[in-house]
Symmetry: C2
């Protein structure tokens, strides 16, 4: 019992440092409710396995001896974060504390399609390269994969990833086999992971009601209700991209017509700009930069897309009364150039009560929300019992 | 401490009888985890204040002496449930156990409007009449009001009820003043209360993910996520009626255009049937019965409305992955005649995973969901400490 308590206290300390960054012993005592001598003993114990170190903070010009700051040893423990997108595969080494140390990625021809076997092969190769480059003495404690699709969390089974053209793929199993060093590779929906990352250390810190909308090829939603991810009966919730908003709209990859995704996704931007491309994400980025530079057709395409972004976001605000709506992925770039149009349309469509309460922002972690979220998921087991995990050399 | 425990056990027993109906002592023991002698003592204590009675069940033809059934004395304790609708005010005496004993209502001319003062006056008059007719020895233990609008639960403040044309009405305060016998009249959104009632004792019993859609003049949603009402940051969540589904649609009372409400509400049904009416709900009911009788224009109006019902419900299924979608209020009647059209359109628009999991049904409590839900809310304090409340003669 005493041993359990000590283990919990160690874990609590590590979690505070993980989510808040370096803290003094006094701050740790205040935030955890533990007394200073307990905090001192715990810090010592964590230092003995090189999980934390103490150092003097940057001089602040104040009088008196500065308190030492307890910091996680960012390179000591890391997670392998994987992001599968139609146009690219990325693997990252993310340190405890959420810092992305290194990312390896491989761009792909979106139109060429991507088989699960090919994806897993590339992930395996990139991951091994990343692992071989990790500093000596560092320890990999978990891995997680973000997928733009409908995922069963328990075993990482991908029911459907329309923009990858994947159907019933046992991805967790496939990746775990390819990376035998890891016992259990977790798989989750990319927008759910974006929401997790943004609420842990991005634009939605401190918010309990969060709508994270990611839009690359597809449009997905990660939704926090009262601090918990909205999963629904079987984890299929959050498919905001397939909210029908336009009965006269274009055919969507899901088979429906006039989905939000077919009004604000990459294909819609290119269609409105009158462009065709094989490298779709690059072409979308070009439309956005052309709009910023004043190209009238590109501006018109961005504006029209922005109006649809605002309409759909208004629906979600009316339904969820959130604290914040966060735009991630390619929608983040669109938001940054079309914010006035998006918010004007949104304000026009939203009910006043919920509307005035919701802030609408770009993802605070930039393009990295999903990878950071995957690392967050990969760290979750470690954070329950960090010292045991390190001692066991996971 | 011992006293607290006993009080909790009494409350647990009463809650089981309230939600499940009559149970034998053995069943009570099995469901509460208490031993039989404790259950016996508690039943005796509740019987001493006439909250429960024991009686032989209907003969079942089986051998042996039948177990006695413990039942709540349905007339002993009751709640005052109030429903405010644009076309009618209703007050009901609802017994512990959820049975509606008596309802008094007053129909109104919807178009004439209804001021808060007039509504509260009528509610007061109807409530006093109902109270005077309650059986001798019965006890009123709580009151709650259902409103088709956006309500702050803490004090019953109605921010906006568009179909009543109400804005910033301190309804909880007004009704409490008018019914001085009650210390605290609760106010809640009608769709939230419908969801509560249907999941407690209607078509969604045992479901944790429930979407209840009520549609009379307006269209509201009461949504249970993992067993809890979706409230959002300030209780404004659930405004599914103002989900924009048709950019070319009609102007809505909220000021927007093409809201789901303006496609499936009463006005839409009449518009499609080419009818005008002052008594809107009666006229809608007539369109539905004419459709059932084969009138082609009415059938067409019902079918077209049904398609929009299906489209919006599909959006909600994609977003929430619920166990069940329940149609209440006037939408229940529409559902009963247009079910094939609604489900066909819904299946066409929904993603397969969430779609196959969600059942779509009419409210199990008929037109009474909202009143029963209001009673449920009114009973909530009583159910925490039933014997104390009865002994104190609330």
């Amino acid at each position: 019992m005493h041993e359990d308590l000590r283990r919990n206290n160690l874990a609590t300390l590590v979690r505070h440092l993980h989510f808040s960054g370096p803290l003094t012993r006094s701050q740790l005592a205040a935030r955890t409710g533990l007394n200073r001598s307990t905090v001192g003993a715990l810090v010592g114990e964590l230092a003995s396995v090189s999980l934390v170190s103490e150092s003097a903070p940057e001089p602040q010009g104040a009088a008196g001896r500065p308190s030492l700051l307890v910091s996680l040893s960012a390179q000591r423990v890391w997670a392998l974060a994987v992001e599968i997108r139609p146009d690219a595969l990325a693997v990252a080494r993310v340190g405890l504390g959420g810092q992305v140390h290194e990312t390896l990625s491989q761009r792909r021809d979106w139109k060429a399609g991507l088989t699960p076997v090919a994806a897993v092969g590339t992930i395996g190769r990139l991951a091994r390269e990343l692992m071989s480059r990790a500093p000596a003495g560092s320890q990999l404690v978990g891995a997680a994969v973000a997928v733009p699709g409908i995922v069963r969390r328990s075993d990482g089974f991908v029911h459907l990833a329309p923009n990858l053209l994947w159907h019933d793929v046992p991805l967790g199993h496939l990746v775990s086999k390819r990376l035998p060093v890891l016992s259990d590779v977790l798989v989750a929906n990319e927008a759910d992971l974006g929401a997790l990352a943004e609420s842990s250390r991005g634009a939605a810190v401190g918010c309990k009601h969060v709508i994270y909308i990611s839009g690359d090829a597809g449009v997905g939603g990660g939704i926090l209700v009262d601090g918990s991810l909205l999963a629904g009966r079987s984890g299929y919730a959050g498919e905001v991209g397939h909210m029908k908003v336009n009965p006269d709209g274009h055919r969507c990859r899901c088979g429906g017509r006039g989905c939000w995704e077919s009004e604000i996704g990459a294909a819609a931007v290119l269609r409105r700009a009158g462009r065709r491309a094989t490298d779709v994400p690059a072409a979308v980025a070009r439309v956005i930069s052309d709009a910023r530079a004043g190209d009238p057709v590109a501006m018109q395409a961005v504006r029209e897309t922005g109006r649809w972004v605002g309409r759909g976001a208004a629906n979600l605000i009316n339904i969820f009364n959130p604290d914040v709506v966060v735009f991630g992925g390619a929608l983040r770039n669109l938001f940054l150039v079309a914010e006035p149009v998006i918010t004007r349309e949104l304000r026009r469509q939203v009910l006043p009560q919920a509307g005035t309460e919701a802030t609408v922002v770009a993802a605070g972690l930039g393009a990295g929300s999903v990878l950071v979220g995957a690392a967050e998921l990969a760290f979750s087991d470690f954070l329950v019992s960090p010292k045991t995990a390190v001692a066991a050399g996971v």
